[in-house]
Symmetry: C2
Subunit: 228 residues, 2 copies
């Protein structure tokens, strides 16, 4: 499948590599290709700058957001906080309408350093998932994968033998089936449909406890499991 991944950071890199390894044709979208490729500084987590990473992953395409979207059958938002809203505004809607957008962003406020704070609260319309869907009603937004480390997103067997939970939410039942089937190809088995896109608030609000667990768990991959 032709997949566009928006975002050149740690999450974008990790997902793009996992998608490519699975045989998909992957294009990473970015605002400025030359600037992205010139970035050789590691990030705060020790992940290589995008330019270094891309030398080792040169079969993954890099394009403008617009060109990445134009050729894609599936869009994945791996950008920071609410950046996606501006990105989608700048792309002709014909390149995103009627496409499925997997949104895995969380509205983290890094302005006070680490750990970040979460801007989303339980107010109708405040999650990133809801804001994208409201602003771009013809895009089929499916909120998923935003409740775990990017290493786990397409590699669920890293945690508890693949028995942990991934949540999905969105207004289009068809899009959710499509995304569920896609997730299953990566080994997800416990996929819980939380309902419409308003459930984005619920999953985005998991971030504070995910962050509190981080120092307790150390480097160990971990994830939420809904035990029942």
């Amino acid at each position: 499948m032709k997949i566009a991944v928006f975002g050149t950071g740690m999450v974008g890199q990790t997902l793009a590599a996992a998608l490519f390894a699975k045989g998909h044709t992957v294009t990473i979208g970015t605002r400025d290709i030359q600037k992205a490729l010139a970035n050789v500084e590691p990030n705060g987590f020790g992940m290589p700058g995008f330019g270094v990473w891309h030398k080792a992953n040169s079969l993954i395409n890099v394009a403008t957001f617009e060109n990445a979207a134009a050729g894609a059958q599936l869009l994945i938002n791996a950008t920071n906080a609410a950046s996606i809203l501006k990105i989608l505004q700048d792309i002709p809607s014909s390149m995103t309408d009627d496409k499925v957008l997997i949104d895995l962003a969380n509205d983290l406020d890094m302005s006070n350093g680490m750990p970040p704070r979460l801007r989303t609260s339980d107010v109708v319309g405040q999650s990133i998932g809801e804001r994208i869907q409201t602003a771009f009603p013809k895009v089929h937004v499916v909120k998923t994968l935003n409740t775990m480390n990017c290493s786990v997103m397409l590699n669920p067997t890293l945690v508890a033998g693949g028995q942990s939970t991934v949540f999905i939410g969105g207004n289009s039942a068809t899009a959710k089936v499509y995304v569920s089937d896609f997730l299953k190809t990566f080994g997800w088995t416990d996929i819980i449909d939380l309902g419409d896109i308003t459930s984005s608030r619920a999953t985005e609000m998991l971030l504070p406890i995910w962050l509190k667990l981080w120092p307790v768990m150390g480097q160990t991959p971990y994830n939420f499991k809904i035990a029942r």
Copy 2:
């Protein structure tokens, strides 16, 4: 142990009965004893009014908040939203100072009906746990048990054979050990210490997803498990 449970609602009833069954001496605290005992209307979940419940559980004491606290070695807050702040203000501090208070409240806003919204967001000091600890610095607040249905709180084997997770948070390491040991007597095995009382924000913010899961899970008891 002599335990005071603040609150006559569904959570208070369920906990008091489980504590009593375990051999503890339980006193339920309420603002107005006669009014509480005169309440015979079932609540929205079909739980009996407190007066009806108490007829069937007459060995559990009922007292004013003040008298319940005075005789107790352990305090449990099972009141609604932020009611506990006013309750503690009205009790002489000598009856609560240096005692452990297990706080399992969540700041639910029912003003727009069901499902409730959560008032807590990721702003420093905004959780109920933090607000109690700040207002009553000599009370050893331990936030725990607030991330599950009350049926599971003291009966963890209801979910996944007892393998789900309970979180604790608080500023006093001694109080957390005390509460952990207490929880273990009820069968809890996966107790994760999230750090100081600021972690209350993180656990209180689980409520929106807990509520979204409710219709999906139906009547089945369920709980979070941190898979790793």
